[in-house]
Symmetry: C2
Subunit: 321 residues, 2 copies
Amino acid sequence: MTKRLARNSELGYLFDYNKKPVLTVEEGESFIVETEDNLSGLIKSEKDPLVENLKHLTKYDPPKFNPVHGPIYIKGAGKGDLLEVSIEKIIPAEIGFSAIDPEAGPLCDNKKWPELGEAYIKVLKNIPGPSGTTRDGKVIYNEYISWDLEPMIGTIGVATEYEIHGTLNGQTPCCGNWDCKDIKEGSKLYLNCFHDGALLFLGDVHASQGDTEWTCSANEVKAEVSLSCKVIKNKKIPYARIEREESIIQLFADKPLEDAVHRAITNLMSWMVEEYGVRAKDAYIMISCSPEFKVKVYQMVKSPNLPYVVGAEIPKKYLKN
Amino acid sequence: MTKRLARNSELGYLFDYNKKPVLTVEEGESFIVETEDNLSGLIKSEKDPLVENLKHLTKYDPPKFNPVHGPIYIKGAGKGDLLEVSIEKIIPAEIGFSAIDPEAGPLCDNKKWPELGEAYIKVLKNIPGPSGTTRDGKVIYNEYISWDLEPMIGTIGVATEYEIHGTLNGQTPCCGNWDCKDIKEGSKLYLNCFHDGALLFLGDVHASQGDTEWTCSANEVKAEVSLSCKVIKNKKIPYARIEREESIIQLFADKPLEDAVHRAITNLMSWMVEEYGVRAKDAYIMISCSPEFKVKVYQMVKSPNLPYVVGAEIPKKYLKN
């Protein structure tokens, strides 16, 4: 039977190497994590009092945003290895929500639309698609507008070497509240390991999200995530990477935004040159000239100490020599 | 017969309202501009001496980068009106090039790949596609790698009200060296007018370009561009806008990059709210939650006084009320 972490089992708010593993899996073994939403399950309808609930979450140290399950101990992984996390399926709940926080978001203090400084919860109906689940369903926004669900994991990573990071703020090369649209079904996420068993944590699924996650709140949901892991021995990368069937994507988080873009692209070049044998000049020129080279601004949320997250993506057809 | 500005007719390097019009067209009349490449036609093969040619271009005031034809006088346009420029066709030359300038580009001083600090010209072969022209052709990079051409106009705009800007640096809401991938076939570009006849200038076509135009040089080409213009009386917009069949795109240029992104999105919201009657709250939440809301980093070239150029794009299906 597939191992499963139930939603109501122990949740945490830190990528903490001191925490005792809550699950142990073999390399290649599929397992399921029932994730909780970013506000720890407090919002159930549009009538819930948002401000009081946000206050409740911030009353704790660390604050109870972006709960994660973990650590999950992956047998065979150790310090100096690289973990490959395959995201097999993400099934978001049929009710998601997006919140306007009166204290946060880029337009909370604007005078043109003062209503954007008022607390507001919009319930989003996620309906099943061809698979019979919300994996490939749609959001019904109103009677005129709907869009495809594109479920993704907002907060994921392995425990860092010695520092301990919260699941709300702070990114490192191996863990963070990245809010990256490409950490989705069919993606392999690569993370440096610093501890025996790698110590994987994840939570905070978004059923859908726009570039930048402008308001600080995507289509936030509970979800059921199926994953499996492999270990690549003795390998280190500069920052988390994603591989998809058709492309490779180098992540980077930093402020200002151009620094994140610059570092994502230079690390993408290193990946192309060092692992695929592309000549540096060819990588440099193809990046500059191909319409298929993409820069993605995943998260640009205005929040102290939260770096912006970008991806630099190139199709695999550019990796031939 | 369709009016045409020949490549070898007078070229300029300023968006200059004092310059006498070189062509006058009626509203709705198609016309053709044979554009010159960004290095004023100096590069003909990979053996051309790049450094000497760049020095030659910078010896002039203004420097001879990004030559434009114009001004083109559009009858019926005047101060306070909005010009709609329809880009009907862009046929790039069959030989394009990309240059590595030893003095410019983000990696010109890096120690990891010192060859990226050496002058280099890569000739790019643009071959015709289904239309029988390079409008929809391909780039042959080498025996393994090719990609689709996606021709676009790098430098375009109308004369500003009182300042005069060069075609190399400097963007304004109505003109600039934007290097925007979406100023392409099928796009309508909207520009505020400040003078009788609008005074349109354009040049610097790229047969293809990656996000950010990383090295500062795309697939640079001569091209034949077909356009037509319409005038919308008494209308002003905050910054150049693009409309495509399926989406609207708000441009903005600024430094740092997050400021450009922020302003592009807030101006996109104004467009949605003021012209399509979308409620501000709905625009705000849909931007944050829809995977189809895109931020595009068109140009992020490291150059003094050259702001970064971004676009915020939303599909038209989100504009229903």
